[in-house]
Symmetry: C2
Subunit: 216 residues, 2 copies
DNA sequence: GGCAATTGTTGGACTCCGTCCACAAAAGGA
DNA sequence: TCCTTTTGTGGACGGAGTCCAACAATTGCC
């Protein structure tokens, strides 16, 4: 990554994502997410309200900066964990890739999205932004598993069945991971790393889908 | 249900939920959900905008009238399907109760929430309202399973483990059901009843959690 | 140096959602 | 009749998100 200065034409940025993230972090601590307006954030960062939307598409993006950063590594992890073809191997790869991504989250930094979810008023907005991120990962996993299940033994399994199965597995395993993350966040100071939580949560789901493809 | 007229005091209603639902259904067909404002709905129904919020807490409630009606029967179905104590029996009960609720949805009436989800602009709002409903069912299932797992063989299983396991199962099985519902809705005219879709989707998840509790 | 093209920043206007409140209308009961 | 209860109404308000026309700062070319 040597191209830090591509020397493009045009006015250079006088602000940055980081400035807005910092300002919002301070205000969220003081006033909670719901109690903070975009205008307050931009004022503290020293920019105008319109500038905010040059860096974020919605206020709720600020809740997910850490999570998004971690999730950004998921596709690469998936490819790296991918082994041979076949649905069972695909389930294995998803399980490993999820744990690999979770390894980046220790007991220290818990994303805003997980700490502000019960703070009155935040719930609605948080859920909206949460599901949109969830579904993005769902399509990722669905495609990954679906592509590796085409060559399956098949037989009495229709195309629609495989599509349903892939998507159900994707949503189930990611939901289990999300559940684990929620429990982990609520665990307070005693929580250790995230990965063990996610590991125990997704194991039964993965086992169920593995059994489905090994027996049937 | 003979108490249709409890003859309460006060001004009788000149409007009704049904009027607003009908008006919104017409407008959603003409303009899509995102393209329809609350004012338009209330104008067509012949009431004022403020009245809308006497019957619905948010515009997005209109997307879920059918789903909410079906979901309302879920707690009762859960109790009815409940058998003996123990985590395995709890998983069985949840599986049966879910299928029982799905039996109410045939190929005819597909809720707005499922038809308008790709119609540009709707996505964000839809996801918000979707997750709030999803999480309501999650707490229901979590409590149900959690209460029936306390008497488990336990041994090397801590309380935190059981809490995590219950919640992960709840979210996973409901996510699989949601995935199936989505596939079913997108299946077009060829779709039959909803229950078979959900059945194949949640079976592996339930199997996985059953195995977890029978072996270990 | 002057000039255009490019990129970032700004303020303002706008729509819609959701909340709040004071008030009017329509009933029943005393 | 007066009081209480319930529902409908209009208006005002603040915040989110969109849009746009203007302005500012920099690069590269002539």
């Amino acid at each position: 990554m040597p191209d830090h200065e591509p020397k493009r034409a045009g006015r250079p940025r006088g602000s940055s994502r980081a400035m807005l993230e910092e300002a919002s972090a301070e205000l969220f601590l003081e006033q909670t997410y719901a109690g903070t307006t975009i205008v307050q954030i931009t004022r503290r960062a020293g920019v105008s309200r319109a500038t905010f939307f040059n860096y974020f598409t919605a206020k709720s993006d600020l809740l997910w900066v850490d999570v998004d950063a971690g999730l950004a590594r998921f596709p690469a992890a998936l490819e790296q964990c991918a082994g041979a073809d076949g649905p069972v191997q695909a389930v294995d790869a998803v399980e490993r890739a999820l744990l690999q991504v979770c390894a980046a989250f220790g007991p220290g930094q818990v994303p805003w999205a997980l700490t502000q979810n019960e703070l009155m008023g935040t719930t609605g907005e948080l859920e909206a932004s949460a599901l949109s991120r969830f579904m993005a990962q769902v399509t990722l996993v669905t495609r990954f598993v679906g592509a590796r299940s085409e060559t399956s033994a098949a037989g009495n399994e229709t195309v629609a069945d495989r599509e349903l199965s892939s998507r159900a597995f994707a949503m189930a395993v990611l939901a289990a991971a999300a559940a684990a993350t929620g429990v982990w966040a609520r665990a307070g100071v005693t929580r250790g790393a995230l990965a063990p939580f996610v590991g125990t949560a997704i194991a039964p789901v993965c086992a169920g889908y593995r059994a489905l493809h090994t027996v049937g």
